[in-house]
């Protein structure tokens, strides 16, 4: 297979410049009898970073997981409303979950590299998508590691185990792994909460760099982090989207008293 053919079959979706990248329309989610999301309406523009904030149990991670259908794995979940990616409902029957997850990558709170080499971790997504072209894979691994600001630190030890990397490096490796299959959206669930300040700063800088190519949604409990890295901030409380606005507005003059009480640490 020629490189051009591989690139033509790239999983990167066609960009729709005139519509929101991600939208949720009156989304309700129930875990059994528990009403976890209550009529969430949100529109996210492409190439932006949106921070989801709110106290534990408010529904922000549940909302994040809607967009790569991770909630499907949980028993007794009922979802109503629409979740659109590039204008198409990701819960429609035509959508294959594997295809969706090529377009929507995810990074978790705790770094979760596979017990494989650094190279194989990044190449994993390509291999499971039946890409076998050696130089293409090498090229993509290098590019992904560079995008994740990890290349300089690991270029001489690509064949070493990923488990030997530091926590911050492992998390950037997981980001590189997500980038390798060229998603257009990256979901991040507290990606820096288990890291030291230097590693956190690297991840934050990386998020800032990545937004020129990707649309990023991040759940964070760190208010300052939300302020530093996001363009838009959404505050969730008890399953409701209380307020969404530009991050500058939210952190200087939020409209809702509940938002103000939360971000100033006077909640409840």
């Amino acid at each position: 297979m020629l490189l051009e053919d591989i690139l033509a079959k790239s999983t990167k979706p066609i960009k729709h410049s005139n519509m929101f990248k991600i939208e949720s329309k009156d989304v309700h989610l129930h875990y059994g009898t528990f009403h976890a999301l209550k009529g969430i309406n949100m529109s996210i523009e492409k190439n932006t970073v949106t921070a989801l904030i709110g106290p534990s149990g408010c529904g922000k991670s549940t909302f994040l997981r809607l967009f790569n259908r991770m909630n499907d794995l949980i028993d007794d979940v009922k979802i109503e409303g629409q979740c659109l990616l590039d204008g198409k409902d990701i819960y429609s029957k035509e959508v294959k979950i594997d295809d969706l997850r090529k377009r929507v990558g995810m990074v978790f709170q705790k770094p979760n590299p596979f017990p494989k080499t650094i190279f194989e971790n990044v190449a994993y997504g390509l291999r499971v998508n039946s890409i076998t072209h050696k130089s293409f894979i090498e090229e993509r691994v290098e590019r992904s590691l560079k995008q994740a600001a990890l290349w300089d630190e690991v270029k001489d030890k690509l064949k070493k185990s990923a488990m030997a990397l530091s926590g911050g490096q492992q998390q950037r490796l997981c980001i590189a792994r997500a980038l390798a299959i060229e998603p257009s959206v990256i979901l991040m669930d507290e990606p820096a909460s288990a890291l030291d300040p230097i590693s956190t700063a690297k991840i934050e800088e990386l998020i800032y760099e990545l937004k020129s190519e990707f649309t990023i949604i991040i759940v964070t409990h760190n208010m300052q982090q939300a302020g530093r890295i996001s363009d838009t901030t959404a505050f969730f409380y008890l399953g409701e989207l209380v307020e969404i606005d530009s991050t500058k507005k939210i952190f200087t003059n939020p409209n809702d008293t509940r938002t103000q009480n939360y971000i100033t640490g006077r909640f409840g």
């Binding site: 208010m223 300052q224 302020g227 952190f251 200087t252 003059n253 971000i263 100033t264 006077r266």
Partner: protein
């Protein structure tokens, strides 16, 4: 009450103490002028160092709170407002000091007629009233009271605008009081600035409480932004 709440409360108390000190400096500068009380004028000059100390302490406290607590929303606006009010207040303190330096240079007790026609004492009273108004507005978080300063300041502007003609005329008729007349004109110019500083303080109070920016807006626009 959170740790941050305690820090902000202490900052508020310190700023109110500074307001009181500056008000007292303004009162004493007026009294020292009326009675040509150079001892009182000297006291004001010494106390100016206390005003400066307040400014430094409040600046340092704001810096610490910003660095340690990363305040946002109303807490952040409060801190930004306090930083600026602090600076405005220190300048009002400087004005009281300047008045007393003039008093120290006076050879004769200021003539009653000069004080009357120049409206200098009225200027002192209005300046004090405006400063007290912004203090109360800050203390009670009363933006309506803060807004009232924009109107009151017009009296100071009017006295200041007319002062030049009035003093010139006075000098023509009182050649023996030229120095005193010029000092009086200088004091009027200084006190007019008290009004401007208080207007700035009022704008900061409104910014802190209502998140509205009134800076560089005309009187008309300020009335409309409610």
């Amino acid at each position: 009450m959170t740790h941050l709440d305690n820090e902000l409360k202490q900052l508020r108390t310190d700023l109110l103490d500074m307001f009181e000190l500056v008000l007292s400096q303004l009162d004493k500068s007026k009294q020292s002028l009326i009675n040509l009380d150079k001892d009182l004028a000297r006291e004001v000059l010494v106390n100016e160092k206390r005003v400066n100390s307040y400014e430094l302490q409040i600046d340092r406290d704001c810096e610490n709170i910003l660095a340690l607590f990363n305040p946002v929303a109303i807490d952040l606006r409060f801190l930004l407002a306090v930083l600026k009010i602090n600076s405005n207040l220190e300048r009002v303190g400087d004005i009281a000091e300047s008045v007393c330096q003039f008093v120290m240079n006076f050879k004769l007790e200021p003539e009653k007629k000069l004080l009357e026609v120049s409206r200098l004492l009225e200027m002192f009273d209005v300046s004090r009233e405006i400063l007290k108004t912004v203090k109360d507005a800050f203390e009670n978080e009363d933006t309506k009271l803060a807004r009232s300063v924009f109107t009151k300041d017009e009296t100071l502007d009017e006295i200041n605008i007319n002062a030049h003609t009035i003093i010139a005329e006075y000098i023509l008729n009182n050649n023996d009081r030229i120095n005193q007349s010029l000092y009086t004109l200088s004091m009027i110019r200084k006190l007019e600035r008290v009004g401007d500083q208080c207007k700035n303080i009022a704008e900061e109070i409104i910014f802190y409480i209502e998140a509205k920016v009134l800076k560089h807006k005309s009187f008309q626009q300020k009335q409309e932004i409610k």
